[in-house]
Amino acid sequence: MTSTVSMTVNGKQVSAECEGRTLLVQYLREKLALTGTHVGCDTSQCGACVVHVDGISVKSCTMLAHQAEGCDVVTIEGLADGDTLHPMQEAFRENHALQCGFCTPGMVMSAIDMVNRHDTLDEKTVRHQLEGNLCRCTGYHNIVKAILAAHPVMKGTA
């Protein structure tokens, strides 16, 4: 039993047929071929699948595609402007905040939302706020540095 689900993804209007049980992350990966959003677990622990839905970070494995009907979704593919990276992507690159790259899309999307929600950030807050994102490669050290570096750039206070 399938039905059509429509939404805006990275500024484009999209629609695709999917089952009621199809998760948003499956819709993005399998129907739209946006494979930058990753699936790292099956219990909503790892955060590799974080995208923005109507401006808020969401684990896209925790939401049905149908629940995103009509929403404005931004994925990792929607951040950079051509060759110009988003300040958070640039901070990750500059601070070596990624190794294998698998958790990276979710980390970046969570980090942007974190900066959006905080006028100021310190290390303790960043570490606490990253609780929903797992990384096995970096030991988090450089991810924390990158987010603290991106904050003033995104806020225009750098």
Binding site: E19, R21, R29, A33, L34, T35, G36, T37, H38, V39, G40, C41, D42, T43, Q45, C46, A48, T75, I76, E77, L79, A80, L85, Q89, F92, R93, E94, H96, L98, Q99, C100, G101, F102, C103, T104, P105, V108, E123, K124, V126, R127, H128, L130, E131, N133, L134, C135, R136, C137, T138, G139, Y140, H141, N142, I143, V144
Partner: protein, 792 residues
């Protein structure tokens, strides 16, 4: 000279694609007409397997076929092979039971595959798997490491009485006698019983594979999450699938972390290759995290008794180790190597202990098979040694710093032959410790402890001085020790006609930054700009051969192969340049991308030489072939020995038992460094892995072999708020065994961090009468230890 050579922290070439969602991981590979495989797995730790009735599943919507154990037999599939053989002390070879790709007759661990459903969609395959009717008769299980080999334990394999895989003494009887004598003469002894608990690897990318068989070419292609594509092809092709190497391509595309768990060949890969060959359609499988929990090869799982003998001055005179090592239900590819030659050969550590002996009993249990996991054997060795040294410090009243310094191998004693087979090439252990003490403000600890105490907290500080043997390597030595494969590395360096360079390497990049580091080698030596160098790895049709990435070997072995290939490029380039510059080849010098006639200003760039090699209009064709494309294999004469000194400081809340790592100082020596930024990143990751093992990680099975930590809801991984920012420094003692002077950095953090953390925790609890606590040091275990100490 272009920027970005050896020593520069250049930003990574691979980052743009990962940061913009363009990474291409196995599950991103989509094939026209692809089918989906779902693995039906045993819910029992140990059970007799009766009928597997697939008729209802076969009739379900979208199902193409259901495969079972007898089908695999009928089609002649082999079992999953083991790559290392160990000989027991009585001279008999280890017991090596067949590991069928789909269970037959019995299931021996939770997660073992009993049937595979292949369907048009993943959902249809999963739905149909629920219709397979399996007749299980549960059996008593042997799931506990310590007791699996005792009389009365349930027997798992017919050919393995007492579930014993091997019973191994090392180095041998003479050493054991020397150790006995050391204990008889000892002024002091220290003894601990330790558990090095089982942990689960958890690369963030679950294992995955896509197989495609081309009947027209009789060629099989397997995309999979692999650290060693060529080894995967060799093991699966020759031992399981009977697929000739020249008709089998294995591609490991972007891989989301490995940590050792993506080296071994896995049943799922064999099954989908077989299915694709049978059905002539692409077949894919994506592991769910829950499946990874029970089927990714686990790590560690040792129960150990360690004793250290000391003389009156606190010099170590003898070390005795008895270990029971859990292999799981079957032997994974390198499982027997880990608690033997990767373990016992490290018992000297950084110290001069003259007599060392050990016994290791490897046992089968009804648990997931184990294999290499970041460090593999070396964390287990380092943990027992650094813990028993702290216990000896307590027993003798000598300060933990002082007792280590009294026993370090001196910087002028290299090369140093240990009593456990290894010949250390270089080291400067006391200097690394001194820097770590200085950076960690060791002398200021008392004040910080007082401040914690004023706050109702306990504070502790701990040291670990790890060493490891990396770069697995020397093929000849490995062969003598039981390896069933060579351990060299290969590389091809190809100049393209327009002056850009493509490097084909047998290693694999799954986070280590090879695309950047290896390009830096080329920029440094050949003077080609970094952006004009492309590194290709993980494809058996493109790289000539390779043993892959594990054991911190990629730079020291693989990078050295690249270096050797570049030597050949320069040699040939000199001949071409001598022709073009009309000078004798002996007069041609090469530096920073330019060939020069010695003592003149006549020069030609390597780009021009490459162009001439591919457009040989003016070229010595009688003497020299066209082209500028060279290949090299590198097989070093010894392992490498990175070392470090770590200082960890923890605060413990005695009311709750919770432990927080307040400071962590790491001084590493990994030899020459190509990209300091990447090297620091590798250390950070290793330390977090080690802190995770020390404080929170642990795979738990009940007595029936049922996993109790089967998801990320019950198995704790370190998160951003459970590790501190790390304070790093390094010393550089170049490795004399390879042209780059590199030693390897991928594992040392995971090797050294666990004892540093546990030593710090024990130091914090010592005033309350606690002298040992097993990992993982959870708030519950700390609280219990404090209560028990109080009660006694």
């Amino acid at each position: 000279m272009p920027e970005g050579g050896i020593g520069a922290s250049v930003k990574r070439k691979e980052d743009f694609r990962f940061l913009t969602g363009r990474g291409a991981y196995t599950d991103d590979e989509v094939r026209a007409g692809q089918l989906h495989a779902h693995m039906l797995r045993s819910p029992h730790g140990h059970a007799a397997l009766g009928s597997v009735d697939t008729s209802k599943a076969e009739a379900a919507p979208g199902v193409v076929c259901v495969l079972t154990g007898p089908d695999a037999d009928a089609d002649g599939l082999g079992g999953l092979p083991c790559g290392w053989g160990i000989t027991s002390k009585d001279g008999t070879p280890m017991v090596e039971p067949k590991w069928p790709v789909i269970a037959q007759g019995k299931v021996r661990y939770v997660g073992e595959i009993v049937a595979t459903v292949i369907a048009e969609t993943a959902e249809q395959a999963a739905d149909a798997a629920e219709l397979v009717e399996v007749d299980y008769r549960p059996l008593d299980a042997a799931a506990v490491t310590e007791t699996a080999h005792r009389d009365g334990a349930a027997q798992i394999h017919e050919e393995a009485p007492n579930n014993l895989c091997f019973d191994w003494d090392f180095p041998g009887e003479e050493a054991a006698e020397a150790v006995d004598a050391a204990f008889e003469a000892a002024a002091h002894t220290a003894r601990l019983e330790l558990v090095n608990q089982r942990i689960i690897p958890h690369s963030m990318e679950p294992r995955a594979a896509v197989a495609e068989y081309d009947k027209g070419e009789e060629k099989l292609t397997l995309y999979c999450t692999a650290q060693a594509a060529h080894a995967m092809r060799l093991l699966l092709g020759a031992f399981v699938l009977n697929q000739p190497e020249h008709k089998f391509r294995v591609v490991a595309p972007d891989v989301g972390g490995g940590f050792g768990s993506k080296v071994a060949p896995y049943a799922e890969y064999a099954i989908i290759c077989w299915a694709s060959r049978k059905l002539e359609r692409p077949v894919r499988w994506l592991g769910q995290r829950t499946e990874c929990f029970v089927t990714d090869a686990h790590g560690r799982d040792h129960v150990t008794e360690v004793e250290l003998a000391l003389d009156a001055e606190g010099k170590f005179t003898g070390l005795r180790v008895n270990t029971v090592a859990n292999m799981g239900a079957y032997l994974s590819a390198f499982a027997p190597l880990i608690p033997t030659f990767l373990y016992a050969t490290l018992f000297a550590g950084q110290y001069t202990t003259p007599a060392i002996s050990c016994n290791v009993k490897a046992v089968f249990t009804n648990t997931s098979p184990v294999d290499a996991l970041r460090g593999a054997g070396r964390p287990e060795a380092t943990y027992l040694l650094e813990r028993v040294i702290d216990e000896a410090a307590r027993a003798t009243g000598i300060d933990p710093v002082e007792i280590r310094k009294r026993n370090f191998i001196a910087a002028d004693a290299f090369p140093y032959q240990t009593p456990v087979a290894l010949l250390y090439d270089s080291g400067s252990y006391e200097r690394a410790l001194d820097i770590a003490l200085e950076k960690s403000d060791w002398n200021g600890f008392a004040a910080r402890r007082s401040a914690s105490e004023a706050d109702g907290k306990l504070r502790g500080i701990g040291i670990a001085a790890p060493i490891e043997a990396t770069g697995a390597a020397p093929s000849a030595i490995a062969g003598q020790l039981g390896a069933r494969a060579g351990l060299y590395e290969s590389a091809q360096v190809r100049f393209n006609a327009t002056g850009t360079v493509t490097v084909f390497a047998g290693t694999h990049n799954h986070g280590q930054g090879h695309e950047t580091t290896f390009a830096q080698l080329v920029t440094d030596k050949l003077g080609v700009p970094l952006e004009n160098v492309e590194v290709v790895e993980g494809d058996t049709d493109r790289a000539v051969m390779g043993m892959g990435t594990y054991g911190s070997r990629s730079l020291s072995v693989g990078g050295s192969a690249i270096d050797r290939a570049m030597d050949k490029i320069i040699d040939k380039g000199k001949k071409i340049a001598s022709h073009l510059l009309e000078a004798s080849v002996d007069d041609i010098e090469f530096d920073s991308g330019t060939f020069t006639v010695s003592g003149t200003d006549r020069t030609i760039s390597i780009g021009e030489v490459a162009f001439a090699a591919y457009v040989p209009h003016n070229y010595p064709l009688e003497e020299l072939e066209p082209g500028l494309d060279e290949q090299a294999f590198f097989d070093p004469v010894n392992f490498n020995f990175p070392f470090a000194s770590y200082v960890c400081e923890v605060e413990v809340d005695p009311e709750t038992g919770s432990v927080s790592v307040e400071r962590f100082t790491a001084v590493d020596d990994v030899g020459n460094i190509v990209n300091p930024m990447i090297v620091e990143g590798q250390v950070h990751g290793g330390l977090a892995h080690g802190i995770g093992q020390a404080l929170m990680e642990g795979a738990v099975f009940d007595e029936n072999g049922q996993p109790l930590t089967g998801s990320l809801m019950d198995y704790t991984l370190p998160r951003a708020d459970t590790v501190p920012s790390f304070d790093l420094d390094h010393t550089v003692t170049p490795c004399p065994m390879n042209p780059l002077g590199a030693k390897g950095v991928g594992e040392i953090g995971a090797i050294g961090a666990p004892p540093a953390v546990v030593n710090a925790v024990v130091d914090a609890l010592r005033s309350h009468g606690v002298n040992h606590i097993d990992m993982p040091v959870t708030s519950e275990s700390v609280w219990q230890a404090l209560q028990s100490a109080k009660a006694s």
